[in-house]
Amino acid sequence: MKSKWRKIRMRTIVVHLLAWSVALIWMIPFLGVLNTATRPASEVSFGWWQLNPYHPTLDNFIKALTQPVFSISKGYVNSLIIAVPATLVPIFVAALAGYGFCRFTFPMRDYLFLSIVLLMSVPAQMVAIPVFQIMVNLDLVDNQLSLILVHTAWGLPWIILFMRNFFTALPLEVEEAARVDGASDLKIFFRIVLPMAIPAFASAGILQFMWVWNDFFFALILIYTADKMPATLLVPKLAAGQQLTDWGLLSAGSILVLIVPLALYVLLQKYYIRGMIGWTIKG
């Protein structure tokens, strides 16, 4: 009996050690970037793990935020100008459509829905040339509106799927009662369904916002002027044009871009995870 207990304890210790060392190893690259960003270049040239001497500084961050051409602070503003409407608009549009697909019957409904869902897997490269040409024709190239439009359309398929699944799980009784009282479809949607859907909006919104914030490809083909670029586009620019990479500056810039989705994830973890696996587990 005693040896069995010892065996169990041994296993527990080993499992804890393994799990925690994996976590630690996984954190090393982030720790390295953080360390490099917060110390002067002279201290980290032989590896950031050399901790002597150690003089923490915020110079790199200030430099990244106030770069003359590629300033990350400007990138922040641009990213927000793009990401906020490109999150709110598709969620509203997709909520309408998701509700339509869930509650109304019409010919070919399921096929139409399935085709839209299939579009989720199309790579961005597949639409790049025509989207670029459309934006040229609309005179929207190098204009943030083009990115808002593209991200809105691009986000719709998965948000429609997500919202439809959410509405399917809602109880019908309240809506039916309202209908008996003579409320119209739109009124039911705005007065009854939308308020109930706020948690779903949070889940879809956080994922869509992160997707737009993290996007690089669409911004790369549609935005060309430095002071219109979102933050992601500026990151590689911080390294370009120098003989030796300024790792302090590049690390600081990376952290500044990374911190926004990270903060959202930490603050709204519940919604984030629910949004990500919502459609994989629920039917």
Binding site: V22, P29, L96, R103, F104, L118, I129, P130, T232, S254
Partner: protein, 329 residues
């Protein structure tokens, strides 16, 4: 027992619209069909217009572009041009070192990155069930998924660069000085460095999905099996892994799509050329270069369209496979 298993299976089964006679039957109760049709168009029209205009039309237009010359005459020359180009498939480079061509690079990415990140995530999800503070461990590993991939690429470059990088310094310390070099600069190591590095970024996905999947398996199963004296590996192959099948399918598909579409990481880690002599080049990057070249020479748009179409076909194969597997059950 088998009845309950079937119940669990059913509750795990994926999107309801895929089930036979899918859709919401309760809709029938909403009143006579076709009532207020005009008002209902309002619900679907905005989404359909946007998707048609900026997704469906561009997809079809790209397919069209791949089959015509820059003058608009029909041709298969674009396909021939891309498929015989050493940038796409480079038989003279086989078996090693790269460049082997973008198509083969993407295939290598799938062959190496998919199994490692899938099984490593599964293993972690299994052991983390008995670990205190497992949510912190999960968050640490999930960080890579939250990271913008453009930043992920910068971090990989940092990680593998001689001097500031941990990986070369590590190999120097353990006595393999030949690997103490900037991995992403040399064509022998650039592609492998990026693939292994992307395991670090992506394992969080399979970990989180499997962890969520494990919570849906009732504890009784494991307890019953334990009382019967089932050895752990049998428990895994007979109970855990089969019940996690939906998660496995989703992880495989999403990972496959991610590997096929990989762009940002490579762009920021080795640049738009795909590194020294295109040794870490991938399909999406190749497409982007053709797209840029198209601005001065419209003939390149045809080639860009071919690469994009090939990429889409590959992703559709992956997605179709998932859908079929899910509906079959």
């Amino acid at each position: 027992m088998s009845e309950r298993l079937a119940g669990i299976r059913r509750s795990l089964r994926l999107p309801s619209f895929l089930r036979r006679g899918g859709g919401d039957r309760r809709t029938a109760r909403l009143g006579p069909r076709g009532r207020k049709t005009a008002a209902r168009v309002v619900f679907l029209a905005p989404a359909l217009v946007l998707v048609m205009f900026l997704v469906v039309y561009p997809v079809l237009q790209t397919v069209y572009l791949s089959f015509v010359t820059s003058q608009g005459t029909p041709t298969l020359g674009n396909y021939q041009g891309v498929l015989t180009d050493p940038t796409t498939v480079n038989p003279t480079g086989l078996p090693w070192p790269p460049p082997l061509g973008t198509l083969i690079h993407n295939a290598l990415w799938i062959a190496i990155h998919l199994p490692i990140s899938l099984f490593f995530g599964l293993w972690l999800a299994l052991i983390l069930r008995d670990v205190k503070g497992s949510s912190i461990v999960k968050s640490a590993i999930f960080l890579g998924m939250v990271t913008p991939m453009i930043v992920g690429g910068v971090i990989l470059r940092f990680l593998f660069e001689e001097g500031p990088g941990v990986v070369p310094a590590f190999f120097e310390t353990v006595g393999v000085p030949s690997l103490n070099k900037s991995w992403l600069v040399f064509r022998e190591t650039a592609l492998l460095g990026l693939i292994f590095g992307s395991v670090w970024l992506w394992t969080g996905f399979s970990l989180i999905v499997y962890s969520a999947g494990l919570t849906t398996i009732p504890k009784d199963y494991f307890e019953a099996a334990k009382i019967d004296g089932t050895p752990p590996h049998r428990m895994f192959f007979r109970i855990t892994f089969p019940l996690l099948r939906p998660m496995t399918l989703v992880i495989i598909t999403m990972t496959l799509l991610w590997e096929l579409k990989i762009f940002d990481i490579v762009y920021s880690a080795v640049g738009s050329t795909g590194g020294t002599r295109n040794s870490a080049d991938v399909l999406s990057l190749q497409m982007y270069r053709y797209f840029v070249a198209g601005a001065t020479n419209p003939g390149y748009y045809g080639l860009a369209a071919v690469v994009a179409t090939l990429l889409t076909l590959l992703t559709l194969v992956g997605t179709a496979w998932l859908f079929r597997k899910m509906v079959k059950r």
